[in-house]
Subunit: 280 residues, 2 copies
DNA sequence: CGCCACCTTGAAAAATAATTACATTTGACG
DNA sequence: CGTCAAATGTAATTATTTTTCAAGGTGGCG
């Protein structure tokens, strides 16, 4: 655990003098790590052995070891946490918070994603005769983004955000087709129906959704990510960022599986954009 | 800069003995920070002053100070860097790399974004009679996502990924309209034309694009982010994640500006989704 | 209330670690 | 082959940390 947090948490288990040391350190950890035990003792108005005992109480070998731990916890500094935007935040504050929440979300997503599932998903996608990406509402843009990636692979890809089109597409799907359904909650009725429909035609259904959700139950393979809920803002935010990164991962896995020759393809697609651009 | 990287980078500026020290530290930084100068000197098979000189060469006050710096850089663990995917990466490796690159990109984006520009953009958006989000290719999904956010605000919003529709929309735009153009490179001819067209009607044009690009030159306000280029993969990846987060920021700024009463609106929109969902 | 046991604290000594000063080695170059 | 400067090491010095031990509190209990 983070050393600084540990000090704060255990404040009441310390003796009087030790608490003085703790307070000085909490007040200015940067000073603490750059001071000798003598200097710190003086700052806290206690004796040097007291500081040493304080360090040992925090499961360190002594003062230098304690400084090391403290330094690490400062560097680490709980890097990105999901912080909620306050009513009176200025532009700088809410900008930072949103970006940091997105980063925290990606971190959580990365850690909760199962690499085996990713690998199987890539397997399935590389063998697909046709790939469809479906998403509704906020997930529609993720599906569209996936289309933008995968069409470069010279595989038939489609993406709809129209439920009727999705149904029609599923009705004519075959066992060689793969359908990727994107839904944050996994509780959208229409999506569950689509999954069911596709399965009836023996198509493979990959769900980018919450595990143990109704949608997940209908999928051949579930790619789930535990991301912190964006509770107090009434819009899905961070979850989509994670979904989109997952699409990036799948696309990357796809290209890797296809080897060097295939990448020539991508180069050509990129090249084709040139004419639509203004030269430097 | 990260101390460990610094050691690696400056390997050739060290003398023979100092390099021995560097190698021992690189091989096992964890051992290094938990050793005394004597122990480390022995490991590297050099004398103690050599270790000390090595530390000073890296702009530290001495050995203990060096250990502190090293400890911090280890804790930090080169937090998120844009790492390129290798040919022979397994699913675990490329998944981590993609997510970490996205995080590195968000970090860079956050730091390069100008809060004043964000604030002005929010100003402009809150005063708009009509808002349009336009993007082509990879940016189309960002535009669609923006639509999904802003339609909740009870402002007329539109989003096209069809150049002709964009043009028509711009032709009939007025000075109270705001057009948000999303383009990573800022060099897409069609987008530059659109910006020009909109400006002719005195509409306000906000560009989410690269600064000093042809598109940026045509915009009333530019929101630029310096994100690391995704060079060796032939698809835009991280840049879109940053753009999407920026949309989140703008949407958040918008709701904050409108105050509590307005948020009731958002609650209703969220509520309306309920019937399309399966209850827990 | 007072005594004892125990805990807390600090002074000083001892031990450990880091730095400095200086000597020796090494190697480049005339 | 000698000279000089840079690099390295030895040993002494200094700084820093840790230990030991004694003094001062604190609270329990007769």
């Amino acid at each position: 655990m983070n050393t600084l947090e540990k000090i704060t948490k255990n404040l009441d288990t310390f003796s009087k003098s030790e608490r003085k040391v703790a307070e000085v350190i909490i007040a200015s950890p940067q000073t603490a790590i750059h001071s000798s035990i003598a200097a710190l003792a003086k700052l806290a108005d206690v004796s040097e052995p007291t500081v040493n005992r304080f360090c040992r109480r925090l499961d360190t070998k002594g003062f230098p070891d304690f400084k090391l731990h403290l330094a690490q916890s400062l560097a680490n500094g709980t890097p990105y946490v999901n912080r909620h935007v306050d009513e009176d935040d200025g532009p700088e504050a809410y900008t930072s918070k949103i970006f940091e929440s997105s980063m925290a979300c990606l971190e959580a997503a990365k850690n909760s994603l199962d690499p085996h599932a990713v690998n199987r998903a890539v397997d399935i996608l590389t063998q697909a005769k046709k790939i469809s990406f479906f998403g509704l509402g906020a997930s529609a843009s993720v599906a569209q983004d996936a289309l933008n990636k995968f069409f470069r692979f010279n595989v038939p890809v489609s993406s709809f955000n129209d439920v009727v089109m999705m149904r029609m597409s599923c009705i004519v799907s075959t066992e060689d087709d793969v359908i990727v359904l994107i839904s944050h909650t996994g509780r959208t009725k229409a999506m569950v129906d689509i999954a069911n429909l596709a399965r009836q035609n023996d198509s493979t259904v990959i769900g980018i959704t919450k595990k143990e959700s109704p949608l997940a139950a209908e999928c051949s393979l579930v790619l789930s990510m535990d991301v912190p809920e964006d509770t107090d803002v009434y819009m899905p935010m961070a979850s989509r960022i994670a979904q989109m990164s997952l699409i990036d991962v799948l696309a990357t896995g796809f290209t890797l599986r296809r080897g060097e020759k295939f990448r020539e393809n991508l180069r050509k697609v990129k090249q084709s954009l040139k004419d639509s651009r203004i030269e430097k």
